[in-house]
Symmetry: D2
Subunit: 365 residues, 4 copies
């Protein structure tokens, strides 16, 4: 249960940063979906280390192997197991911290919780685990594209104090992939890139924000009362390494508004029900209302810096630690495809769940 996400479109990930492999089993993908392996690889490549000069230089091609569940290129309704072998696992980089607790990492909490810890590269707590999510998320994207032409687009909107103030409607999101930072405002992207390089040079790290917008979600997805669509999106995002906050629609800004200005008035457009404004962020009562879903995710600065820090070891003695591995100075550029993948997994699950909401509904999309 602990390493599983979703109820009907369900994924279970496994693997440690410096073990033999990481991977995922997808249980619940309906039969009949064309599994585009080129697309899966392209998604993994957006997340992989070494893709640009502002990310970690660990060399992982993140090539994958589908062990089951696909026959002649099509899903069969049985579990789809995907394995990604680790290749550039320099475990020696970690022997010096085998018994030390790195500040703001999971070393201490894992040690207490489990009494044993695979210290190589953070083991299970490493963000390397998210590669498995991206592979599964790619299949979820294929499903969503097929059943409702759903588009999920994330992008970097903040790095440190640098903030993209424009709304997603006024941006050309096709430019997101045009630069290493994955910010669709290319001028700001250049500034962010320079800033991240400067931060790296100083042996330090910096936080950021990933924004996302989801289009074409039909009305009715999301389940009251605990599994509201935005509650699951929030959980999914907060389960990504380094995330500290989530807001959707009007978010934290919305608390300052009055009901009379915050309410989204229903109107009719092209014989469809829509809303004039969209402070609701496309979700009302936890259920999609057909408008765009948009949200923001806050990432803290990466904990591993090249600077020496005070800490403790497992015996509780004072020690010094500093990063020797290969690390990201800022996590948000690589987080963009992870945010998209998690959003896709949330939606694929609600797509299947929504099929059971009422009798006599003909498969509606």
């Amino acid at each position: 249960m602990n390493n599983t996400y979703g109820t009907l479109f369900q994924i279970s990930t496994f693997g440690e940063s410096h073990g033999l492999a990481i991977g995922v089993v997808i249980d619940g993908c309906p039969a009949g979906l064309e599994i585009d392996e080129v697309f899966i690889q392209s998604e993994l490549s957006r997340r992989r280390p070494g893709q640009s000069s502002i990310v970690t230089q660990r060399k992982e091609e993140d090539t994958f192997e589908i062990l089951s569940g696909v026959f002649e290129g099509v899903s069969t309704g049985t579990p789809i197991a995907i394995v990604i072998r680790n290749q550039d696992a320099k475990s020696k980089d970690y022997s010096h911290i085998a018994d030390k607790f790195r500040p703001s990492h999971a070393d201490y909490t894992y040690s207490v919780k489990y009494g044993i810890r695979d210290y190589r590269g953070g083991g299970r707590s490493s963000a390397r685990e998210t590669a498995a999510r991206v592979a599964a998320g790619a299949i979820a994207k294929l499903l969503l594209k097929r059943v409702a032409n759903i588009e999920i687009q994330a992008y970097v909107s903040e790095v440190g104090k640098m903030k993209l103030e424009k709304s997603y409607q006024s941006l050309d999101l096709s430019l997101t992939e045009s630069n290493a930072v994955r910010c669709p405002d290319t001028a700001l992207a250049q500034e962010m890139e320079d800033y991240i390089k400067q931060i790296r040079k100083e042996g330090d790290t910096i936080g950021g924000v990933v924004s996302a917008v989801i289009q074409n979600v039909p009305v009715g997805w999301g389940e009251p009362v605990f599994d509201k669509l935005h509650a699951e999106l929030g959980k999914a995002m907060l389960s990504i390494n380094a995330v500290k906050g989530f807001e959707y629609g009007s978010g934290f800004e919305g608390v300052r508004m009055r009901g009379s200005e915050h309410n989204d008035i229903f109107i009719k457009e092209n014989e469809e029900v829509h809303t004039k404004s969209n402070h609701s962020g496309g979700i009302q009562g936890g259920i999609s209302n057909g408008e765009d879903i948009y949200f923001r995710v806050a990432f803290k600065p990466v904990a591993t810096t090249m600077r020496e820090q005070d800490s403790l070891n497992e015996e509780g003695e004072a020690v010094k630690v500093s990063g020797k591995g290969r690390h990201d100075p800022c996590v948000v550029p690589r987080a963009v495809p992870i945010v998209e993948a998690m959003a896709a997994l949330v939606l694929a699950d609600f797509y299947l769940r929504n099929k059971n909401s009422k009798l006599d509904s003909i498969f509606p999309y």
Copy 2:
């Protein structure tokens, strides 16, 4: 599955705002816990309507009946069913909107999703459902108090643009219940109360923020990788009606910090491992590290206003709607016990789940 929360300490709520009753079944409460009914009632009373002049005037005493699972005042390990009868259900207040979609309510999405809708008072989508959560949360609190002396304290920190800038450490949280707003800064509380009364007079509503701090959580609670402690807290909070955002520890502010200043340095105090700062918010790698857990929850302004608004009816025709029922001008004062209840439910579940993390662990607290 849809109306159930938790995996080992599991609750299932039921009931509509203007139906016969709402209630909850708690499955998984260990045997041997003293069930203090006076405490449960006091928690319900903190949430109930009509408690002060700045909340809805619907008259519900929210008295409850425990139907099962308790024998001679002690839990038996079997399901604890609690029923709260609705008393002041003025369904007639809603007949005028039976076929209308109230803006920013769940009327439209429920209608499309289910093809049928209990329009009386919002039916299942009403925040009245949270009374069941508060009853269950009270039992979770009793459990947490008993096993680890855990304290959960929430309070109102923002109403509209009025913000309590002090950290929880510099506040006397025992003052939270001393005023109708539930803000521990009594001077600011008075201003907030006046402001809410003004808003109500104008027939409008306003948003707010609830902050919370949890103390004495042992190290090791929370489950990687999807069910991180903060991810479940986030989901639980986002599942509360009207919530638009969640952040913990350094939150959205943390993105502007550098790793070297954000990292929490481990130190030894009284032979225990602690951290100097606590930007991590008491959680590292999704697992509690023994420090205080703190977070913030954003609530939008209540959707029901007394002002007339444009909308559509089920036939898609333009109509006017305005509130006739009894509603809150600002939801945060009554949200305080709900936030605490959901936090308690999250923690009770992780308490039980953590018992299985390692072999040979003697029941550790």
Copy 3:
């Protein structure tokens, strides 16, 4: 989790034999189903005590109240909570065994497992809990009738050494309800009834077998690999009090057959695929194949006899125990509706689950 059955059509039962009430919450019933309360009551009446001279004389009308989830007679897609108040709870009948372990009851195991035990009437371990299942099962039957005209018919086929040797095809199952034993062979039913009366007179009890046949299940229900249709049927039946065995199709007899005679040959009839024989019991690879599903359930003799027996008390001292409450001399007549209810719950769940097996399937029944 412990008191919950099903994944998409999910029920959670609660309540003790001599507590205030027993009940059930159904989570996952699709919206739009007409909830026929007269039918629910008639199902409860088939199970209720005091219905004839060969069952326990406890006086319970088993009237029920639906607290939620139904609006104007139709399911709304929200949880349906049903409560049945206990009326004739003579707890004093049990004070003499408060600290004694009745042989072959759950007294000892509950005491050790929970450290506390509601001894009144067996508490949670009493078969009274199955009334909640029958109420939920009635709604599942309504759903199955509506979506595929499914018929579930159980009947008594063995009492002690008396055995109905005819196959279900050669019986008129409409006669099942014509006698107190619920055996469709009325002559044998009379013999069984006389035998049960004799057993009761002797202060003893006797076991029996309930057979069941399910007709009109569409092809494709059941989920590989663990949740095979017959595996869930087996679990559901074995979860009924006093059940010791389950077999379907050729069952234990089938082990003596050769593959060449056991195999069910596919043929075409009226443009539909069918099988010549049906040793498979309507299930192949864990999935329904469109033929009749049939199975048999073994019930042990009721543990409570009027005879004095040796036992131990909670201090481990030798004591004498004998039944003083009101009990069934043979459980199978009242077990018939319980077997049907559990079968209905299994099938309702697989109906919903099967909707997700393939893409592009139009709601098929």
Copy 4:
């Protein structure tokens, strides 16, 4: 959810008979367990094809690779992924039946359910999937051995009409592995082996029964009311390919007994509570009572025979089919380790679940 078994000690299997690999992810194994790979291999070898002259001659060594969750020979509390590559997958053996429905196989039901079918060797419906269960079951056995010295022993007790009439107490179960049939009565084993060889020569197959006994299970395992220990055992056994029936304790024979003779009288032995007889099969009220747990599992004759049979193809046309692959004439010898593995998985789950039954219980075994 569909390919997952267990709630706290949870396994998810994947893989097709003639795909690249089969495998399993174990989520929930507590940290600190020594993972004995030699033992895992020995269990797989008891199940593997080609092990003797009376089983299928497909050549699979069933060597496995642990991809995650184990560090320096010890479980870390993270998911344990195990992969077994398929080596002797002669898919060409199946091209002649690619569009034909083999009688009493899952070909037809899978085709209708999924609209697509991996016909090679039965794909997902093949008993080859059980190798993954045996690997996971081996780890469950290691856990049970460690925490409570639990012994699980299965053996063949019937082949066709040949039946081992002795009770398990009067047998030397250490002889089970001394012969190819896995029957501890070596004389009868020889007769069974000769009989199976004769059946094979005739191009036919035959059914059988596997009996099992579990010793040293502490009091208290199993969860009322749906997840009774025997209900889960039943489901687990019925989920094994070709199983048609399950009974425990007195089973179907018990229905003919009277309560006064069936009841198990509590006695005190060596300061422990025991029962004189054990018709309950070690389980009362769904919870282990400390006595031996024993049960019987019925297996039908293997569906694939070498004889030509009538059938239909996907177009509904009459065709002839006959086995060309390599198959077992009788499945029970290889089913013995599968039955043990499933029993171990059931118990490992209840071990973890029982930890949460009461407060203040010190880890009790």
